[in-house]
């Protein structure tokens, strides 16, 4: 009995210890830096915790922490703009990804059974190449003398190259492309599970094909749609690589702001404060997502 109890505790403890070491501890460190002040030193902030000084040293260390970095974020409109811009880009990208992914997932789920595994493979295939390389590849496609413009010029649709690279459009293209599988897979899995006779029943009861889609297919795919939206929205919100490589200097996003505070300005406390604000902004949707998942699990039982 005691042995079984111990085993059970170990099973529960392992994920908690994991979270403590790899999530909570780093978070505490980032929070500490955010409450510190920038300094020309190594590391570039004060106070530094001196464990040799014992309790007195710790108390002194605590007294020197403050919220200056956070108030600074409020004082400069740059950060609010970056936040709003991130929010807009992440929301719109999620919407576009949904518009592209739903027909894709629907087509996959409706395809003959023997094709589905292959189609699923094709959706996952891009993951076999490095994310960074795929984003770089888009530079080759989107730049003024790139593949897309060359094709459009050849086809006679435009007379001079379009400026797509280094505009928000390129960022949207990059995000939608990169996160598309995260939207397709959960939607596909809900649609694939759906019993075909539900649609027949809807039609039998007087629905047209279109109204059966709105009244039956879509509500049943909703859990997949919600999951997909969160899986795209959350990483897009903090995205750095795509706006940096494709968006040019005019695109303002939280991830980019954080990077420049950290590396260009060497202002670790403000960079950490940005990181914490971003985290808190994402915790809310994550919690909603979790509740949704729980409810879905309960409904599935």
């Amino acid at each position: 009995m005691a042995k079984g109890g111990l085993g059970r505790i170990a099973v529960i403890a392992i994920p908690y210890v994991w979270l403590l070491v790899f999530f909570l501890a780093p978070f505490a460190i980032v929070l500490k830096i955010a409450l510190s002040e920038t300094a020309i030193a190594q590391p570039p902030y004060v106070p530094v915790l001196d464990l040799q000084a014992g309790w007195a040293g710790f108390a002194e260390f605590l007294s020197e922490l403050d919220f200056d970095s956070f108030t600074y974020l409020l004082s400069d409109s740059l950060y609010a703009k970056a936040f709003l811009s991130s929010l807009t880009i992440a929301s719109l990208s999620t919407l576009f990804a949904l518009l592209v992914a739903f027909p894709l997932a629907y087509g996959m789920a409706r395809a003959p059974e023997r094709w589905r595994a292959i189609l699923l493979m094709l959706v996952i295939l891009p993951f076999w190449t490095s994310f960074l390389i795929r984003v770089y590849a888009w530079i080759g496609i989107l730049r003024p003398e790139g593949l897309l413009n060359a094709f459009l010029l050849w086809a006679g649709l435009i007379s001079e190259p379009l400026q797509i690279l280094n505009t928000p459009v390129a960022v949207y293209i990059g995000i939608v492309y990169s996160y598309l599988p995260f939207m397709v897979l959960p939607i596909y899995s809900t649609l694939e599970k759906m019993d075909d006779s539900l649609l027949e029943a809807a039609i039998d009861l007087g629905c047209t094909r279109t109204s059966a889609f709105w009244l039956v297919t879509l509500p049943l795919a909703l859990p997949g749609i919600v999951a997909g939206c969160f899986l795209v929205f959350i990483p897009a919100m903090g995205e750095f690589v795509i706006p940096d490589l494709l968006g040019g200097s005019s695109t303002l996003m939280m991830g980019k702001t954080l990077w420049s505070e950290f590396f260009s300005n060497r202002d670790w406390p403000v960079a950490s404060a940005v990181a914490i604000v971003l985290l808190l902004a994402l915790v809310v949707p994550i919690l909603i997502f979790q509740r949704q998942a729980e409810r879905q699990q309960e409904a599935g039982r």
């Binding site: 019993d195 006779s197 539900l198 027949e200 029943a201 809807a202 039609i203 039998d204 009861l205 007087g206 629905c207 047209t208 109204s211 009244l215 039956v216 509500p219 049943l220 909703l222 409904a299 599935g300 039982r301």
Partner: protein, 387 residues
Amino acid sequence: MSSVTAAPKAQKVFAPWDDPDATPLVEFVDVRKQFGDFTAVNGVSLKIFPREFFALLGPSGCGKTTLLRMLAGFETPTSGKILLDGKDLSRVPPNLRPVNMMFQSYALFPHLTVEDNIAFGLKRSGYGRKEMEERTAEMLQLVQMKEFAKRKPHQLSGGQRQRVALARSLAKGPKLLLLDEPLGALDAKLREQTQFELMNIQEKTGTTFVIVTHDQEEAMTVASRIGLMNKGSLAQVATPGQIYENPDSRFVADFIGDVNILEGRAGKGLRRDGEEVTGFEYAGGKLSGRANEAIAPGATAWLAIRPEKILVSKTAPKDKSLSNVLEGRVHDIAYSGNLSTFHVRLDNGAIVKAQEANRRRLAKREIVWEDKVWLAWTPGAGVLLAR
């Protein structure tokens, strides 16, 4: 085929299929359905009358479900016509047919409550709010699911889901209700109970039911007529009693219930014990059976005799009316509580099954293994078949 037992004239029996003036609700006219190379339905012509409870019965893959789905509009016939109330259905899409279907999987919408499931069809057909609520309540009452109105399908048992599915398909008051293996997912006890409920509801609503099933007992219990299908064609269409007592082929005799089929030669027409029967030569012995069609003497024929119509005894039967007699030894006894089935091996090696009700307790059974026994039945108990 000839009619067998004519019902007494005084009592009005529901038998529109015997009335040449009756107008059918549904009429299949030489309907064929081809899936690629596979012929699912091969030239079916059939009339189904208003208020009938018609069962399409057959082994899996015989085309019965395809026939049902063509009625619902989910499949279109490759050739032939389907008429409903005399009007050709082929150009009417499924959502505009006055026909509703109860699906084998029930196909209840998991995101809607019981109430909303039932109201689903009503909402699509322009019912007013009040009418709709009344109709939904009426349907809930009909299937005794009133207290479950607010539940979701996953919170119901299999039997309850079945009721909701039935209520939903009846809500719009269809002219014709199609039921695809409606009781297949229920356990044996519940199935039996539900069969009677189904018959009650059919009678109460006066709707014409067409049920697809592979369970012959279910078809026998619920149906006014059975259409037995085999390989895409209708083998026989008749009332349960007729199809059991008067099968017109070995397939029908074999599919419905338990039967012994003896292969022999047809003889001449005889009169035995006040019955017109046809002689039958089997293993050197002279037997007889009712023939539904003339069989030329000397032609190969089959005698189909039900096990429960055979009397087993340890002595030669003295009763003169039991003119069909075979001798053999008890090879096996299958005991099923209420019945014992004796598997008797004849001298030619054939096994004939005979069934007796266990009127006495098991310990007092007179006939045991390897006993020499006589099998006997009346002249017209068996049916003589030409195919």
